[in-house]
């Protein structure tokens, strides 16, 4: 059974930069990009990998959608080079400052505009703001089922079986399509490196940009005015560092000193 899969991709400033290089703009309360690169948010790459593997097995089509600035086209190009068939950018100043509920609403509208879909995949958490809420908001908007923290998906005859990672193991969940799943990483969905020829081919593809007007959005539901919760401050936590280094010339001495220190502190 061929599957039409939508994958939601968010472009973020590299989330793995060290804390010491992280800065917040005091005016906008957003992260300063500086010389850091823009990347596809970590788990969105896993979502894309799951989608591409499913397509390779079952046939079908993978469409990547991103709501973001013009720069997000680069993220979509990488999605195409990994194996997505089409990519759509939604970029409009009217929606730029939306909160997660607004973004999910826009993503749902864009998904509906794409047309028929069997699966919607997202990352389980975004690398910057990290609400893990967009997927569930989006499923509600679309009126479809929602399974979060999914590491693996198998499809057969209009049904999918999803492996949902929970605190003490995992659940196998059966769902009728269409269904939305937020993807968590495991050893089966490590994102592939695109081949040079695929990068070249992706470079030649055009990425349509949709505007608010193309999606017939309710203006009251997007933009900063629509947010029901205001972000009034973003600041860096104060971290004091006074690490006591354990001495010793050999691992044996170090271990003995550490054990003694832990004993002294009544920790073991």
């Amino acid at each position: 059974m061929p599957l039409n899969i939508i994958v939601c991709i968010k472009q973020v400033i590299d989330p793995e930069i060290p804390a010491s290089q992280f800065k917040i703009d005091p005016g906008t309360k957003r992260q300063v990009q500086g010389s850091h690169s823009l990347v596809i948010s970590a788990y969105d790459q896993n979502a894309l990998e799951v989608a591409i593997q499913l397509k390779e097995k079952q046939g079908g089509k993978v469409t990547a959608i991103s709501v973001g600035a013009a720069t997000a086209a680069t993220a979509l190009k990488s999605a195409l080079s990994m194996g997505a068939d089409e990519a759509i950018l939604v970029d409009d100043p009217a929606i730029a400052a939306s909160d997660q509920q607004g973004i999910a609403y826009v993503l749902a509208k864009a998904t509906q505009k794409v047309g028929t879909f069997d699966l919607v995949l997202t990352g389980c958490v975004s690398g910057d703001w990290g609400d893990r809420a967009v997927p569930a908001f989006m499923a509600e908007e679309l009126g479809i089922g929602c399974v979060s923290f999914v590491s693996r998906i198998e499809a057969k005859d209009g049904q999918v079986v999803l492996r949902r990672v929970v605190e003490d193991g995992y659940e196998l969940i059966e769902a009728k399509t269409p269904v939305l799943a937020s993807v968590i990483s495991d050893d089966t969905n490590t994102p592939r490196y695109p081949k040079l020829k695929d990068i070249m081919a992706a470079g030649k593809k055009t990425i349509p940009t949709w505007k608010a007007a193309d999606l017939v959005l309710d203006p009251d539901r997007v933009g900063s005015g629509a947010a029901r919760v205001a972000i009034t401050d973003v600041y860096l936590p104060l971290k004091e560092s006074k690490c006591e280094m354990i001495k010793g010339d050999t691992p044996q001495e170090q271990a003995a000193n550490l054990a003694a220190r832990l004993r002294e502190l009544k920790l073991i």
């Binding site: 958490v125 193991g169 990483s185 006074k242 271990a255």
Partner: protein, 329 residues
């Protein structure tokens, strides 16, 4: 009277620690705003939990029993929580930031047209305005954000282990409301076929007083066998960084950090873990962090109280011996 509603989850015929943590949040809101705390409890055969919920601070208990609530299922829980909210009309709904709350929370917020605050670590009233103000981590633990509702209701999830369970007040009572659940199997778009529970030898990671964790530096599943031995000797649980779980060395449920578990042990031993903020986000509640790393510049030393610079395996192996000697185990 509108107040706070918390979702109290159960496991093995008891309330979860996560449920007690959100009840603590509810009690704190009551102290700040003077509003009552309702607890919603969903499942089957729940009567025994009701007095316990009162004892832990609930003023009302909404007891929703139905065949289809026997175990967690997103559509069922979202729908029944929505039904309870329509009746209770809460200003605030608090859920634990676990695999249930993180799914039900935003779904419920959408249905209630409510604001949503994810994973708060604390809240208070802003002195000047008297307005409620939540604090949460963001940017993978690199920053803190302050979030203030512009309107109510608001649905919020609490970061696990950010709040201590409340003390139990024996004999405290309240009002029990039995909810008339409207739920049909046909409403459920997804169905749990099977739950595969991982075997835990010893203590559960999220409850452990001692956690022995390994990262990419441990280099493979064999390394984790050594860490398991150490954990056994010092009665701890084993955790891992995302690098180790992504590589398949240990199951995803062992992951500690932003995406994985929040732990708050007295002692957290990090072997071969660099200390990325997303990892550290899961150990902010740890009282003592010990870093063992070959790189003296690794960021983990910035958050650790004790540090050893050296090869993880040599140190861990010798530590097993030293601990055996000291503890007599």
């Amino acid at each position: 009277m509108p107040g706070t509603l918390v979702l109290a989850t159960t496991e093995n015929a008891g309330l979860t620690r996560n449920a007690l943590e959100v009840l603590a949040g509810g009690k704190k809101l009551r102290a700040l705003l003077g509003e009552p705390v309702g607890a919603a409890i969903l499942g089957r055969e729940l009567s025994a939990h009701v007095p316990l919920l009162f004892a832990y601070g609930a003023d009302q208990v909404y007891r929703a029993e139905h065949q289809l609530l026997e175990r967690y299922q997103g559509d069922a829980f979202a729908s029944v929580m929505h039904q309870i909210c329509q009746r209770a009309q809460p200003n605030m709904v608090l859920l634990a930031g676990d695999s249930i709350g993180r799914e039900v929370g935003p779904r419920l917020a959408n249905r209630l047209k409510a604001g949503f605050v994810a994973d708060f670590v604390d809240f208070d009233l802003e002195a000047a305005s008297g307005r409620l103000r939540f604090t949460r981590q963001t940017y993978g633990g690199k920053a803190m954000a302050v979030m203030q509702p512009k309107a109510f209701p608001v649905v919020a999830t609490a970061k696990l282990r950010a709040m201590e369970p409340p003390t139990k007040e024996e004999g405290r009572t309240g009002e029990e409301i039995v909810v008339d659940v409207a739920l049909e199997a046909s409403q459920l778009k997804t169905r749990v076929l099977e739950k595969i529970q991982e075997e835990v030898t010893g203590v559960k990671l999220e409850d452990a007083k001692i956690v022995v964790s390994g990262g990419r530096g441990v280099r493979g599943p064999e390394g984790f066998k050594v860490l398991e031995q150490l954990a056994q000797v010092i009665k701890g649980a084993v955790g891992a960084s995302r690098a180790a779980t992504d590589a398949g060395w240990v199951p995803p449920s062992w992951q500690v950090g932003q995406t994985g578990k929040s732990v708050s042990p007295d002692l957290y031993l990090a072997f071969g873990i660099s200390g990325a903020t997303q990892h550290v986000a899961g150990i902010s509640g740890a009282k003592n962090i010990v870093a063992i790393n070959t790189d003296p510049e690794a960021p983990i030393y910035k958050v650790a109280q004790l540090g050893v610079v050296g090869d993880w395996k040599a140190v861990a192996t010798k530590l097993i011996e030293s601990c055996k000697e000291l503890t007599g185990r």
